[in-house]
């Protein structure tokens, strides 16, 4: 089933007196349960593409559909709700909230959701913390964890809302290769078990081997797609 459909998307932004063409007309289709890797060199446009798909950035032109919803015309409030309920994010730099402990970080998106009972929040949080293997650090603050542990927390936070899509921007870039592989295996496992769609960007060839689909991007255009 088609989850995401990107058509003729361009993204331009000014940089001083020049206009940077980050995306020059991208077409992409993502199916439910895909474990897709967007590959390209730095500045190729892969992060921009992920940001647009994740409703974090606006396309200059073109159409982006998540399910049946056209997101390019949505207002901020609705886009925020869409991110909360349908999309999970894993950042290269983990982006955990420093003043919250691990448990609180994981349950954070659930607390933003309305009409969710405390028992349900606890159940989901504990399950995810358990799944990503950080149960013993539940009371710790992010600053007390290693990079790999933080990324596990980020994965738990991204998945705790049962999103349809998880977007990960170079999730292993700040991790050593062993930890990076562990994270990717965890993501893959969740992808298989929960049927969650994963799209992650990378320029590391070792990471690409985990992907069920690879999209190569160069100078703002998709140059190649392979399954």
């Amino acid at each position: 089933m088609c989850r995401i459909k990107v058509e003729s998307v361009t993204k331009e932004y000014p940089l001083g007196k020049t206009i940077v063409h980050a995306l020059r007309g991208v077409d992409l289709t993502v199916q439910t349960g895909d474990f897709m890797s967007v590959v390209g060199a730095s500045g190729s446009g892969k992060t921009t593409l992920l940001n647009i798909i994740g409703c974090v950035d606006e396309a200059t032109s073109g159409s982006v559909k998540i399910g049946d919803e056209e997101i390019t015309e949505m207002k901020d409030k609705k886009l925020t709700d869409l991110r909360l309920y349908k999309i999970g994010f894993i950042f290269q730099t983990f982006n955990l909230i420093p003043v919250l402990n691990i448990r609180e970080n994981v349950e954070f998106p659930l607390l933003l959701m309305k009409n969710l009972k405390r028992s349900e929040i606890n159940k989901r949080t504990e399950k995810l913390i358990d799944q990503v293997g950080i149960k013993e650090f539940i009371k710790h603050r992010p600053s007390e964890l290693s990079g790999g542990q933080r990324q596990r927390v980020a994965i738990a936070r991204a998945l705790v809302t049962n999103p349809e899509i998880v977007l990960a921007d170079e999730p292993t870039a700040n991790l050593d290769s062993e930890t990076g592989n562990m994270i990717l295996e965890l993501m893959k496992e969740l992808n298989i078990r929960e049927k969650t769609t994963f799209i992650f960007s990378t320029h590391d060839p070792d990471v690409i081997k985990y992907a069920s689909k690879v999209v190569r991007i160069k100078d703002g255009l998709i140059s190649d797609q392979e399954a």
């Binding site: 709700d81 909230i97 420093p98």
Partner: protein, 514 residues
């Protein structure tokens, strides 16, 4: 909400320096606002008791034909209050009136002072003709007679304010002394003290009333005493000198009690009538001592004496007054009370003769000064208010910008803009509650301390600011509520810009920060 508060409190603890910086601003703002409000409250209360109720009165009753409310500029035009007894009855009936007193207000030239000394200026004096007993009853213990004493009832004399005596000496080299008084060194000005051995003294004044007509009389009046007000004497001393009511009437050209026609016994009237009747005067039965005493009523010498005595007893409480002074009851508004009195005058058809004017209008110069000093204090408080807002706005905006990554991440995850706004509001609310509360408490302690310290001033400007000679900021529940409201408003106003900054942080900013 719990999540917002949790994040807010932890952020405050995480960024201790910033929290303390903002907290200190709030503390200082709350402290000075509490103290400032206390000072303004103290000034207003002091003004009310020391100046308005203690010296000027809440309401002035003046002749209706005087259209100018300002007493000083209407001084020469004041006329007798007609139908005084009815006016008095109406005032007595008012529930909001506490005390009242009728006086004769005017000014006079001090004739033999103005022609002497080194200055060519004509020296005038503002006079309040009063019954001293009534004055004391109304104004209580607001004055100290520092030399001599007040005239007894029916006795002629003047009480001069110390400020006026000092001025007369500075301009005319004449030092006024009460009758039978001697020089009191501690009351002399430094110049007078320097010339102690050759000091020219006087203990009477010759006054020529300044009136709209030319019917004033020159009167010589003994100086009975020198007084000063316990509070703000330097400010109002020139406007207040008290003279016995009869001399005031004489000086200012009004009918005196002695001038009043008294009710003669019937027989005396008949006698007078018969004298006036020319036919009787030249009749065969002229009035003579022999036939006068034939009347049994006239046979007793005692009776005759008592009749004579009755004729020379003056009722000083006659209708010859040109100004009424009213103090309203505690908590009553002089403006509202004036309106009520004027309405009562209208209902009794007395509005053609008299009208009531609240002190802010009748003493517009003084009320203007009070207003200016009050405004000055308010401006000072508002400056603190404004500075606090700017500092909070600046610090919290920096905090918002520093936390772009964190706020952006929250937005990416699904936090709405109101969540990030709420975080900043909660943070500042906590700081306001803790540091503002401490500031208010410190302000209260400072107010108590200032009252204990009993700080006094002789400076007229500061006397206005203090509402008297002593700095007595007061603690009132209204003042504290005002502080709390200000404390709530300051952070909110200070937060407008930082909240806008935080709300403008886009999810993409979290990504680009990385």
């Amino acid at each position: 909400m719990r999540l917002i508060y949790k994040i807010a409190v932890r952020n405050l603890l995480r960024h201790k320096r910033r929290s303390i910086a903002v907290g200190l601003v709030i503390f200082i703002g709350a402290f000075f606002m509490t103290l400032g409000n206390g000072a303004i409250g103290g000034m207003e209360k002091g003004m009310e008791f020391n100046i308005v109720k203690g010296i000027m009165s809440d309401i002035t009753i003046m002749p209706a034909e005087i259209k100018n409310d300002n007493l000083i500029s209407s001084l020469a035009d004041l006329t007798n209050i007609e139908r005084y007894k009815e006016v008095k009855k109406i005032i007595k009936r008012q529930n909001d009136v506490h005390k009242f007193l009728f006086t004769l207000f005017g000014s006079a030239v001090m004739l033999d002072i103005s022609t002497q000394g080194s200055s060519n200026d004509i020296e005038d004096i503002i006079l309040w003709g009063v019954d001293f007993d009534e004055y004391r009853e109304m104004y209580g213990e607001n004055m100290d007679i520092i030399e001599g004493e007040a005239p007894e009832k029916g006795e002629k004399g003047i009480l001069i304010n110390k400020t006026l005596r000092d001025r007369i000496y500075n301009l005319h080299n004449i030092w006024l002394l009460p009758e039978n008084g001697s020089l009191v060194k501690e009351n002399l000005t430094s110049e007078a003290l320097a010339a102690y051995d050759s000091l020219k003294t006087r203990n009477d004044l010759v006054l020529m009333g300044i009136t709209g007509s030319t019917t004033s009389t020159d009167v010589r009046v003994p100086v009975k005493g020198i007084f000063k007000y316990k509070q703000i004497n330097e400010l109002v001393g020139n406007y207040y000198n008290f003279i016995d009511i009869e001399t005031a009437r004489e000086c200012l050209g009004y009918i005196t009690a002695a001038d009043m026609i008294t009710d003669l016994p019937e027989e005396d009237q008949r006698l007078l009538n018969s004298v006036d009747d020319e036919a009787n005067l030249f009749s065969d039965n002229p009035v003579s001592e022999s036939n006068f005493y034939e009347n049994p009523e006239h046979k007793s010498d005692d009776n005759l004496k008592s009749n004579k005595k009755e004729n020379v007893t003056h009722d000083y409480n006659t209708e010859t007054f040109n100004l009424g002074r009213i103090n309203v009851k505690q908590g009553e508004s002089p403006e509202i009370a004036s309106e009520r009195i004027n309405l009562a005058f209208k209902e009794a058809n007395l509005d053609k003769f008299v009208r009531a004017v609240p002190w802010r209008r009748s003493w517009s110069m003084i009320s203007g000064f009070i207003g200016a000093v009050g405004s000055g204090l308010m401006i000072f408080i508002n400056c603190i208010f404004f500075a606090a807002i700017l500092m909070i706005a600046n610090t919290m905006s920096m905090a918002a910008m520093e936390r772009t990554g964190e706020i952006g991440t929250m937005r990416v995850i699904g936090a709405q803009k109101r969540f990030t706004s709420g975080m900043f509001i909660a943070e500042t609310s906590f700081l306001s509650f803790i540091f503002g509360g401490l500031g208010i408490l410190s302000g209260i302690v400072a107010i108590i301390a200032f009252n204990v310290m009993d700080i006094r001033t002789a400076s007229p400007f500061l006397q206005f600011a203090f509402g008297g000679n002593v700095f007595r900021p007061i603690l009132e529940i209204n003042g504290i509520i005002t502080c709390i409201v200000q404390l709530a408003v300051i952070p909110l106003l200070g937060l407008i810009y930082p909240v806008l900054v935080a709300r403008r942080i886009r999810p993409i900013d979290a990504m680009t920060r990385n």
